[in-house]
Symmetry: C2
Subunit: 327 residues, 2 copies
């Protein structure tokens, strides 16, 4: 059986975790826990579905819970609560609220003696790790994060809330010239507008005022006003045919100087190109679930982030195997 | 004063460490230890030079030693010996001998209660870390490592040993079409010849048989026979003018499938583009020196590799600062 995992919340992320567990021989999925009526639900692999209200009855059968709820309202409550009884992983991604979330989860996990790893995924997550390592290795330098090309769900949702819009998909696109300048070690100063553009595919209601919708999108504060934004109106059929995937990705580039007179330029680049944003995030969550269980078995407890996890814990191989095969 | 560092061995790597320490406010260089006569040596920053034979007299003044000797003969003896009294970092890079080196160093460091981190740099080192994480996150996949474009010192030395050769510089160059195929998720099977080419710049003695030298290079087993190799004969002036740097770099690419039917392709790419191979390696060593001291202060001991070091230890920032600023 290996590591027994419970999934809490069954959306895109939960389904991604379900698939990812199948790829790991040392793991199995014990069940899915939901706030919906379990009897109305089926899962991709036909694992049992339980009400989240009775999760404590399953405590002895679960090594780690992967929490697949949203950062806005689910995780701030769920992660500290579940950490009272379980090792847990979440993908909490509201950057500004991470310190407060950490404190609450840490209090629970210190008390219960469990390990909770929060803000796991690719940003926050793998990108954060590469920012940290780039700064630690090349302290005299600058780093840049570009996102995309990919679908931003938050921005797509913002368009959907506009009156007269039936559905929408928003792509965040890095400005290639800016990425190249960074890659060439030019250390440019880049405004928000110079780093990314936004492209929107919008399905409007019949007879809607397209000009008004386009204006509302392009002038929306925080989301679009600071960017060069393109709006395309398409049919529902086109949206479903051409834009049903959730690709994403991006790049973290650290450019740092070395040498007594900082005469040499060195570039570290970490790049992701993902067909499926939720499935990749899920895959990261599953690797960190293995780490949480192993760290807890060694007596560790409390709240952790990707910064606190030695990479060896992510792998199913022993230290000896890793040194022989991968170092 | 912060972390006090000793350098053992003063070649390209030692000088790189000396420069790198200046970029880190929480560190200072205590001195350089050499097997040569210290009185004949000066350093870039005029730090004291001592004989390595008297290093134990300085034990109380040093938090960690960075060992900058070679992997062939220096480090196999030096690292286990120094770990009897000091926290140490080395860049041992003979892949096949890492397990044996680990065992010897671990025995010393377990006994002394010190932390020794071996095989630190970029390959082994950062590239190893990215191979591990790629495999852990995307278990259904394949990874590829390409090196270059950059100067291979081992291959340059091999050419220099040929009769009639005064000096030489060898560049390892990744085959761009192969890298592109990997980046596109094609998962190609690549032979040695299909991954890299080798380009040699050779200064021959007056009147040397250039045809024979070129043949000897191109047919040299292990080093060149399995590659498409180009040989250019140039003057000593040209070599010194155009080839005095030690640039290097490369890329680790993991291509992995996700989804219930492995229908989605996800690519992780970690790329280095280095003006100075030794200075970048030195910068990595210095960051891990910080980690060794901090881990030892927390009571850890024994031999470690980059796989065993939680990233937070590399940074001078507190956990709280890291979560706030970088996550």
């Amino acid at each position: 059986m290996g590591i027994k995992i419970g999934i809490v919340g069954y959306g895109n992320l939960g389904r991604g975790v379900e698939s990812a567990i199948l790829q790991n021989e040392d793991m199995s999925l014990y069940g899915v826990f939901t706030r919906r009526n379990p009897e109305t639900m089926t899962t991709l692999t036909n694992v049992p579905v339980y009400s989240v209200d009775e999760i404590l009855n399953h405590k002895e059968n679960i090594d780690v819970l992967i929490l697949c709820g949203g950062s806005a309202t689910d995780l701030p409550v769920q992660t500290p609560k579940m950490a009272e009884n379980f090792n847990v992983i979440d993908s909490f991604d509201t950057h500004a609220k991470i310190p407060a979330h950490f404190e609450k989860v840490n209090e629970s996990a210190e008390k219960s003696g469990k390990v909770a790893i929060i803000s796991v995924g690719w940003d926050p997550g793998m990108f954060s790790l590469n920012r940290l390592m780039g700064q630690a290795i090349l302290p005299c330098g600058k780093d840049y994060t570009f996102w995309g090309k990919g679908v931003s769900q938050g921005h797509s949702d913002a368009i959907r809330r506009i009156d007269g819009v039936l559905d929408a998909r928003q792509y965040t696109i890095p400005v290639e010239a800016a990425v190249e300048a960074v890659r060439n070690g030019e250390n440019p100063e880049l405004s928000t507008r110079e780093k990314h553009t936004r492209e929107c595919f919008v399905v409007a209601e019949d007879g809607a005022d397209l000009k008004r919708i386009e204006d509302e999108i392009k002038t929306m504060p925080n989301y679009f006003a600071d960017y060069d934004t393109t709006v395309h109106f398409i049919t529902m059929e086109e949206l479903q045919r051409d834009h049903k995937g959730l690709p994403h990705g991006g790049v973290v580039i650290r450019c740092g100087k070395t040498g007594l007179n900082e005469e040499n330029t060195n570039i570290i680049e970490y790049k992701l190109n993902l067909d499926s944003n939720p499935e990749f995030t899920s895959s990261v969550l599953v690797a960190y679930a293995r780490a949480a269980v192993r760290m807890n078995k060694e007596g560790m407890k409390g709240c952790k982030t990707v910064f606190d996890v030695a990479p060896a814990y992510l792998s199913g191989q022993t230290g000896e195997e890793l040194r022989k095969n991968l170092l």
